[in-house]
């Protein structure tokens, strides 16, 4: 099979500003960013609590969240599908096969990643940071924020990983989004289905974009971490 021609077509699509292609890229970005923006704060807070607070069942809760890390995304897709379907309990909202359904899926997929990364970041922090802040008169909330600030690179890594998982996820996005052109077709679903159509140029172009995004986000993370990150 000729690989050169579809690759050339791919770059023509990308740099020729093919509206269909760029709409797919734009959808992928805003849905993933939106999902992470919505789920980040509560997940980080939960991760902090699970790392710091002692309560009965804490260990079980941590294990549960860790188990969710390897939860198949298609099962998340199935659950959301059943809930949002016209015949499901939330069917009257007509959210199935809309970008919002994908966003909910991405939130659930990113959630355990954010929590688990936060737990390990906070547990790795020097406990004296919290204690010193308290001694200096900070309230519990302010002292917690000080600790989180101290481990901000770990938290940032959590956010980046959550984003990476969301934007590259395909199973859930097809199930609850339906791959509708111009509405719910995003980068991974387009790649998966264009390939089954035997149309490789768009798949190559989108795969290239996905890799650039992954690389870009991680370079950004390294730059933000500065010396600390690249040491």
């Amino acid at each position: 099979m000729d690989l050169l021609q579809p690759t050339r077509q791919a770059f023509a699509l990308l740099f020729g500003g093919d509206p269909e292609l760029w709409q797919i890229i734009w959808l992928s970005l805003w849905v993933s960013v939106g999902a992470i923006a919505l789920v980040a704060a509560p997940s980080i807070a939960l991760g902090f609590l699970l790392a710091k607070k002692r309560f009965p069942g804490q260990r079980a809760a941590v294990v549960l969240v860790q188990a969710l890390l390897s939860f198949p995304t298609v099962v998340i897709g199935l659950v959301i599908y059943l809930l949002l379907s016209r015949r499901g309990p939330l069917g009257s909202f007509e959210l199935l096969f809309t970008p919002w359904a994908i966003m909910v899926g991405y939130m659930l997929i990113a959630f355990p990643i954010l929590v688990v990364f936060t737990i390990s970041a906070v547990q790795g922090a020097d406990p004296r940071v919290y204690e010193t802040a308290r001694c200096l008169g900070a309230g519990r909330f302010a002292a917690s924020l000080t600790t989180l600030r101290e481990v901000r690179f770990g938290i940032l890594a959590a956010v980046v990983n959550g984003f990476g998982r969301a934007i590259s996820e395909v199973g859930c996005a097809i199930m609850v989004g339906g791959n509708i052109a111009g509405l719910t077709r995003n980068i991974p679903t387009a790649i998966a289905l264009e390939t089954t159509k035997g149309d490789f140029a768009q798949g190559i172009a989108l795969g290239f974009v996905l890799m650039v995004v992954a690389l870009g986000v991680n370079v950004l993370l390294a730059l933000l971490q500065g010396q600390g990150g690249l040491r």
Partner: protein, 271 residues
Amino acid sequence: MKPSFAVRLAAAALAFWAASAFAKDIRMATTTSTDNSGLLQYLLPKFEADCKCTIHYTAVGTGAALKLGQNGDVDVVLVHARPAENKFVAAGYGVNRRDVMYNDFVIVGPASDPAGVKGMHDPLVALKKIHAAGATFVSRGDDSGTNKKELAYWKAIGIKPGGPHYLAVGQGMGATLTVAGEKQAYTLSDRATYTTYASKTGLEIVVQGDKKLLNPYGVIAVNPKRYPKINYRGAMTFVKWMTSPTGQKAIGNYRFKGAQLFHPDYGHPPH
């Protein structure tokens, strides 16, 4: 004198080798409708029993199936999109194209029928009305035979499909019907797949029974001149069986929920 153990072993190995070389598995690419309707599950065991061979198939859209044939990834294709099939043969990708059977398309939609097309026969008039009413229409959008047919209808009435009421899902017939059910939209489906999904989607047949809705299937062997390694002999065994009285009778005998879905038409196409 009895042959020694070693000789018998060698003979068995030789026979096995010959059998496997002879009866190499056949790989077929076909459309989702022949699979979803249960036709292949009914036909292929009969074929395998007759030819004493094994056939594997992948069910994709017609466009993808022809692409698999074009790339030499399969030995034979069973598809439904006459213009694309003719192009496939003319370009030298396939040989020995045969008519095998036909079924028909239907336009299905929600029970509320917002465009008021229920009971119509002509798909062109109905699609025009659906478009004018601003009702939602779900398209396969996957370059399948059904998709090609739908696009040909739009072209015939001079409408360029698009806009917020036209949803192209790029997936198989089942997924398309599911989306249409959720969105309470219209779509074009082959009768077989629709029948399977009727109760799951709550959609109803609104347009049927026009000659334009006939859906003929063709079987084509992949050209061995392009891909000498493919199983051309196996492909032709399948083509011959499908067009033989045995194969044609089996196609006509297949019933799905009591109804005949595919009509054999080798040698006497109705279109």
